[in-house]
Symmetry: none
Subunit: 224 residues, 3 copies
Amino acid sequence: MFVAAVLLSDVEAGRSLVFPEETASSLVELTPAKPLSLDAFTLCLRFATELKGKREVILFAYRTQYFDELNVWRETDGRLSLYLSGPGAFFEVPELGPLANHVCLTWESLTGRTTMYVNGRSSASKIYQRGHRVRPGGKVILGQDPDNFLGDFQAEQSFVGEIFGVNMWDHVLPSVAIQLLSTGEDFSDANVLDWATVTIIPTGSVVEFQKRSLDLKPTTHALF
Amino acid sequence: MFVAAVLLSDVEAGRSLVFPEETASSLVELTPAKPLSLDAFTLCLRFATELKGKREVILFAYRTQYFDELNVWRETDGRLSLYLSGPGAFFEVPELGPLANHVCLTWESLTGRTTMYVNGRSSASKIYQRGHRVRPGGKVILGQDPDNFLGDFQAEQSFVGEIFGVNMWDHVLPSVAIQLLSTGEDFSDANVLDWATVTIIPTGSVVEFQKRSLDLKPTTHALF
Amino acid sequence: MFVAAVLLSDVEAGRSLVFPEETASSLVELTPAKPLSLDAFTLCLRFATELKGKREVILFAYRTQYFDELNVWRETDGRLSLYLSGPGAFFEVPELGPLANHVCLTWESLTGRTTMYVNGRSSASKIYQRGHRVRPGGKVILGQDPDNFLGDFQAEQSFVGEIFGVNMWDHVLPSVAIQLLSTGEDFSDANVLDWATVTIIPTGSVVEFQKRSLDLKPTTHALF
């Protein structure tokens, strides 16, 4: 009985952001724990959206003054994509549907290897932007795609729905760790963006909720 | 090996209601353990139906003298919906198909937040009927939509198929608890409607079955 | 907490091969631990590919001088197939999609029974090549289909994407073992091809990565 309780005890605990409508102004800025000067990263987030059809959806944006340093999109054709200051890498994924999905993305400069994970299952890896480096000094934004430094948003690219569990590491997590994260394990502190502690600055109609976690007594854990 | 056995040991145990045909008369009344005077709730149920195409299907109805206080539907377009005495909140979900699905719905007056869960996966939350209160003094009905106080049923809105595991709480369960419920864990006593003990008053051609649970010996559990 | 860690601790750990593009030259040769003189076998591998539409995809090839001794394909119609020196056995499977799938295949000469497994779920078994024997002296190839002894490759049959976890046994594993393998358990040393130790000889644009495993301390395992 206690197994499942423990396996899932941290799933979706913590804060959650609801973007109730399509706008060109509602957004959330996240304050990273350290500058995004990165030669590797793992980025994970959970989202649920009813947006469908031929529409781009911004999932994550890190913008410096002149560059889309690190953007993640759901493309009009349903693929997920990563842009690091230039043409993107594209990943075929199953249709994501309207319920919450766990999406992770890894990249490392040394080999250029980048891999997308949906609900713990890996895509075929791609070779992308080998030798590149993500530059510090920008802003991390959810909900909008900044076409210049924190402005020039387009409603038809905005995120509508719910986002939570946004975590980022400055290294590539092993795939088994990402599988565990997808089932709700929270064994590893994210050192760039930690959803449990990151400062969130909302603008516009976005609503922040506090999700409750299961209050399992320590004695339950001790049964193992 | 024993993990899966334990995880699934309570799935679908207990009573089950079969509505064998489309009628305007077959229904079941459930007697709540306390009045439905609610500023928050979690409602869960499992159902399997072969109804398809453009047809409304009533999943749960709580009717007071003048209001559809709390109705849950599968809409003609496949969405699930919640009505609290007025226009509804609508949730996009994957096509539910003919096999049994576990559906839960949470709502709280304080924030208006309402979330639909299908087989443990959450929808994007909606803001709905903030500040509202579900009123006591009505009847809980499965199988029919009462357009007045327990009457005026329409066969083409009736439920056909099997319903079971109807449980209701007077508060919002954390999402991790709902995930556990969807896998068959039964860790938490529902305090408004408890399927294990609720009095069921059937009318018409509805049939009540007793499902058997997996007979796990206590010694199996002790292996943990 | 520790249950999932152990269940999944070996999933996808170890080496991984990325075939970034369609070619008639990129391939990997695997050096078996013993000759493939086989009257039974279990072959497992994981792969992710974005190849779709009406295109054959070679998944595994074992070629002797005059025969395609043991080839596994994804056929143009999406079925998986096994060829042992002659017409093939075909298996209907769910659409595999672009994310990683775990595929296993068992065959034994005595009964001719052959079964395909996708992510631990078994196909209907087929009777195929009863009394046959896989002959030694060939080469094991990933990425290309050799139409003669290590040559005459066709780009439009090549594998594009990522392959890993290629393991082969000289006997039929029980289905429960294959289910465990699909979830990442690595309880059994493969005695013909062992992905953890097999010598890999790459040719062309194929890239070999080292996947990291979760660094779980032995004391964690000891909690069981």
